[in-house]
Subunit: 213 residues, 2 copies
DNA sequence: GTCCGATCTATTGGATCCAATAGGAGGTGA
DNA sequence: TCACCTCCTATTGGATCCAATAGATCGGAC
């Protein structure tokens, strides 16, 4: 697999996260293969990887398609994040170095400058994942990343729908989180983080239209 | 992929969970392929699936091997279980039917009959996973199952080491859990469950020799 | 004697080809 | 006109073959 498979998987993942391939859409092996000038084999293996990540569903002899998720599924995934991300943060927090902290602060400054939805999504993701970056437990970081990926589409839809009116809440939460992180206070940090995720989950529940189509 | 890949993956998974292929051991594609009278292709795809589950590690051009996990990694995975399994139970609990409850009770009765280590491992696993069986959130059940699988080898080593002396604690915990489940009390059930997992984690930490070789 | 390099072999990665399955189009019967 | 059956095509699954990489072994030079 390795290099070719990885390239294809990265490309498809980016396309799905970017909303270029949306829920319900099918992914044909041949199309992707031609697009890469490669054979179908690495594409098949890449699709398997994505299936394992929950980014596509694979039905035998029918191919892969991006799954449509219900509000309840997203809700539970957010609750999983509430449970797991404080753990990842606690693992990471003691070993985050000065460069990480500086970068985290930079990202937040840029968010506060008032960016558009797509940029916000990218920065917000980088912000949080960066706080976990020193966590060396593979199963944990992998699971957390998968949860981010699988919910990305609906987070985008939600953001486009609600606009930046509540952005100040995010900023306040991020600032509290950063402060706790810099103090290496994992209890505080975990609490702010869980609250941050929970609030987002609750707000998402108020917009069932995100899951309508 | 489908049928052949699935068969190979199931077989390899069973072999790894059963301890037939242990940590550090390499898995050669050709060997497995011959063993199945199939080509290497489904084996490759099966190995990818297992890699996604964390049951093997895959290094480019070097092949797959079962990873050796440190005590700290196992400890964190147990903490992940403490966080996630109460969630899975809460999802499952309201919709568990009478047949499930009966089966859960049967399993516990058999455990109490005093079985050997291998049987205990199998029954204990079936016991817990059965309580989650009505949870329909794929990401959650998948993640929980993966955590069980990835830690199985060390659970076995621990059990063989300590013998059945503390089996009565497990039985008491299981009984309390069953009672809460039958009352559909998700708070109680979640608490007993988290405690059950936590106690096992703590006891595991007392036996670093499990991770020595 | 030891260290470095080259070749050789075992094993994996990727491409092409063939088989099998699913879904649809078209035709035929009632 | 509608239902059902058959055939056809598009697409995926699997096998075989070839290329590339890593590790080992052997040889040579210092």
């Amino acid at each position: 697999m390795t290099v070719a498979t990885q390239r294809v998987a990265d490309h498809l993942r980016t396309a799905i996260l970017g909303g270029i391939i949306g829920p319900g859409e099918r992914v044909r092996q041949e199309d992707v293969a031609q697009q890469f000038g490669a054979s179908r084999l690495p594409v098949r293996e890449a699709l398997q990887m994505l299936a394992a990540e929950g980014l596509v569903e694979h039905e035998p002899n029918k191919g892969a398609r991006v799954p449509r998720l219900s509000m309840h599924e997203i809700d539970v995934m957010y609750r999983m994040r509430e449970q797991l991300e404080p753990l990842a943060l606690a693992e990471s927090l003691p070993v985050l170095d000065a460069g990480d902290l500086r970068r985290i602060d930079q990202i937040q400054e840029e968010i506060e400058r008032g960016v558009d939805v797509e940029t916000f999504l990218t920065l917000d993701r980088e912000f949080h994942l960066r706080t976990y970056s020193a966590c060396r437990i593979d199963q944990l970081t992998t699971t957390v990343t998968r949860l981010w990926n699988a919910t990305q589409y609906y987070r985008r839809a939600f953001m486009h729908l609600t606009g930046p009116s509540r952005r100040w809440v995010v900023n306040a939460e991020h600032r509290l989180l950063i402060d706790a992180v810099e103090r290496r206070d994992e209890v505080d940090a975990g609490r702010f983080l869980a609250g941050h995720i929970r609030r987002t989950r609750i707000e998402l529940r108020r917009h069932p239209e995100v899951f309508g189509g």
